[in-house]
Symmetry: C2
Subunit: 241 residues, 2 copies
């Protein structure tokens, strides 16, 4: 059986025999860039129906159609983990979103903190990065990237049943203690490059659901800290156990 | 006391009262870009004498001089950890070097594997990235970036007393077991984007010092895998304990 070389996220339902229309960009990518044609296999996932091996039925310059043949992976949800971070320079923000999707965050939440420079983000662009990372890493789920919101507001509305792993470079808590923490809903909060303000830090330390964790003796950039924190969390509590 | 806003790596010895000449690039950065002048403080480290608070004594367009006032940090060596990886696209290779320095690798070693595309690397450019990361993360040590070498050769000459954490996406070993491993000399080996060849994989699995570790159910890019593996290692065996 011919091996599929392309893996794509689509929004349509996937099921045996289901036909999936392609939009202009998808058709251009598959038939223009990848030089595929009728009979070639493609893997599709939509975040709900798992991964399907599909076959090109119609190939055109501006449109096309695939037909679902068989399911190759069931839907595998990531753990219920939010990654909350303060956006930084463009390339590093893109990187954090990509890494969060690969590392298995369920939701990616940019926040404005006292020392965050960003006033806004391009949510659509960040969401596209999450889709691309999901296509690449073999996941069957695409995390949602939410719009920029204020950290203060997020903390005021914090769900009672969600634990908060807070990475504070001024602290010495070990992630090893996470293993004994309860609850299966979590969030990891990564601070901005300039650190948290004193008021934010005090509020976070006083938060009933907060678990303070240190990430070693060197000061990590926010993008490094995000990947490192997710690795420790996944090993202690997530799907790397 | 005025807070130093700049932290620089230099190659000269540092000690109380020692004068440190600046080269053209350093003088341009401090006096042209950062607009500093005589009397302003700068933090210097050289990988051997810890971190020193120094004061600008002479400021010129093409040269300058600092004088060491007091040591602000002792030398803190990272754990004896090598990061061995197959170079990938330029931006991601730069990123791996930056992250290895931040995460506390002592040595950064690019290797050619069966499925590596790179025939050569710019060792000087990668070393400069390691210096910049050390300046930024507050470390007092700069890891050496070695020249590209063949993985086969490296394994043939492998030191008997060095353990090898090998991240294999086809495997299910947990990093938690690392905690019970012995030895304080380690290396982490991150595979290339195309994975290891069957021959390489067989050789690595048969290696007497190898510890196979899995990094979750999704396929991580090499740069993500490098940070995640270093985080798990640092927590189990390194200076994040």
């Amino acid at each position: 059986m011919k091996q599929a070389k392309v893996r794509l996220y689509v929004e349509q339902p996937l099921a045996k025999g289901q036909s999936v229309p392609l939009d202009r960009d998808q058709a251009h990518y598959l038939f223009g860039v990848m030089r595929m044609g009728p009979g070639d296999p493609v893997l599709l996932f939509n975040g709900q129906d798992g991964e399907w091996r599909c076959i090109v039925a119609k190939a055109g310059k501006r449109a096309g159609e695939l037909v679902c043949e068989e399911q190759t992976k069931p839907l595998q949800m990531p753990p219920d983990l939010w990654l909350v971070f303060a956006p930084i320079k463009k390339a590093r923000t893109d990187f954090i979103v990509e890494k969060a999707a690969e590392m298995g965050a369920a939701r990616i939440m940019p926040v404005q903190t006292a020392f965050t420079n960003s006033e806004r983000i391009r949510q659509d662009r960040l969401q596209a990065h999450a889709v691309e990372a999901a296509e690449q890493c073999g996941g069957t789920y695409v995390p949602e990237v939410t719009d920029l919101q204020k950290l203060d507001r997020l903390l005021s509305d914090w769900p009672e049943d969600r634990q908060l792993m807070f990475c504070d470079e001024a602290e010495v808590g070990s992630a090893k203690r996470l293993g004994s923490a309860s609850g299966d809903k979590w969030a990891i909060l990564i601070g901005p490059e300039g650190g948290f303000s004193d008021a934010e830090r005090a509020r976070l330390h006083a938060h009933p659901n907060a678990h303070v964790v240190a990430l070693g003796p060197r000061i990590l950039r926010a993008d490094t800290a995000a990947v490192a924190a997710m690795a420790l969390w996944q090993q202690a509590l997530g799907d790397w156990k």
